[in-house]
Amino acid sequence: MSENKQRLEIVTPQGKVFSEEVDFLVAPGAEGELGILPNHAALITSLNIGIMRIEQDGKKFKVFVSGGFLNVRNSKVTVLATAAERTEEIDVARAEAAKQRAEDRIAAGSPDLDLARAELALQRAITRIKAASEK
């Protein structure tokens, strides 16, 4: 492993989304965004729903993560998320549908509604749409 690179792995229950050497990344940490350069101290943090920005060999790209965890050790960064997609792979139509569904559910406000979950679903959908539109 070269001096100024770190290994980034993004893993979801549906498989590895990403596993490459990168220069720099910014992740949506629970306490605000955090940037990670190679040789970062060992760290475990939970992530919010948001967009990760990654720099690799002068190229920049973005990855949507639906919350989860980030673990740094020995210049190896592991992101565990229930879902993650590179922005160009986001299914916008599906996200729009999910947004609609979540909004309807919140608006209908049925008694057995799990409001926290519906709001999370809405946030995921909005973040996905945003991520896809600003690539």
Binding site: E9, F69, T78, L80
Partner: protein, 290 residues
């Protein structure tokens, strides 16, 4: 002896059946491959979430969390994963038998969460208490289902309605072998120090930074850990079901072949006997005329 016409009819019926079992075998083989792939894809996540949890548990040294608290068990819940359909040999009945044994073994009150139609039907017929049932989980809704089940059992556990929760499912060992196993999911048991340290001894020495705090990370991590255990169970059940079905259909196809062979033999004998009889009648008739 059965008449020629009966034999022909039976052969035709068996051939039709064989075509069906052959087709079902091909279908389950294809679905099994996909299900197996899903199991393989889920493994890295599973391994890493265990690592992280082990790391948190070790590095934070005895952080307490409600989901880790062991209580005197008064009520036990079993989450039983079976398939929605049959024609898969002993796959479902093995899980059901294991569950029945477990249920008889507990000294506390118990309830069941039935996942899969076969398990639900069985336990409902027997009059077991079924707290919740999940039927017809789609192939791409499995994580969502795992999330639903997890939030349900965590709610019940936090409300102290359940004191212990176990998952019973069929472990997918290979295409021919599926073994029913029982896994404790609540109170959560983080991978032990040896387990977490095993390959990565440095886990214990690394002073981790936790954000926002070890407790907060743990509070988010534990539900994901349980979710993942259930998700894995669901995937393995699916893979196991399709491989059991494939094996069962393979056997059925073979049995049909054997049956067709036997019937064909009997039919040929009957046909020959008839021809012989006819000839001897003709010869007899001719002899009588002379």
């Amino acid at each position: 002896m059965a008449s020629l016409r009966d034999l022909r009819r039976r052969i035709r019926a068996t051939e039709n059946m064989q075509q069906i079992t052959k087709a079902m075998k091909a279908v389950s083989a294809a679905k099994m491959r996909r299900a197996q792939e899903a199991v393989t894809l889920a493994r890295p996540y599973s391994k890493r979430i265990k690592n992280v949890l082990g790391g948190v548990a070790v590095a934070s040294g005895g952080v307490r969390h409600p989901l880790l608290e062991v209580r005197e068990p008064k009520k036990t819940a079993f989450v039983v994963l079976t398939a929605d359909r049959g024609l898969c040999g002993g796959f479902n009945s093995n899980i059901i038998r294991r569950t029945t044994q477990e249920v008889q073994g507990v000294k506390t009150e118990f309830t069941l969460l039935a996942v899969g139609r076969k398990g639900r039907d069985f336990f409902r017929r027997r009059g077991f208490e079924i707290a919740k049932e999940y039927i017809g989980i789609g192939d791409d809704a499995q994580y969502a289902a795992a999330r639903d089940i997890t939030s349900y059992v965590i709610d019940k556990y936090s409300a102290e309605e359940y004191d212990e929760v176990y998952l019973i499912y069929s472990q997918f060992i290979n295409v021919l072998v599926q073994k029913p196993i029982k896994v404790k999911i609540l109170p959560a048991e983080p991978p032990t120090e040896e387990g977490a340290a095993g390959k990565e001894k440095e886990t214990q020495k690394v002073p981790y930074i936790f954000e926002p705090s070890a407790e907060a990370v743990l509070a988010e991590l534990l539900p994901k850990y349980i979710e993942n255990a259930i998700y894995q169970g669901l995937l393995e059940t699916k893979a196991g079901f399709y491989s059991a079905q494939m094996t069962a259909m393979e056997n059925a196809t073979q049995n049909a072949s054997e049956m067709i062979d036997n019937l064909t033999l009997t039919m040929n004998r009957a046909r020959q006997a008839q021809i012989t009889k006819e000839i001897s009648e003709i010869v007899g008739g001719a002899a009588a005329l002379e």
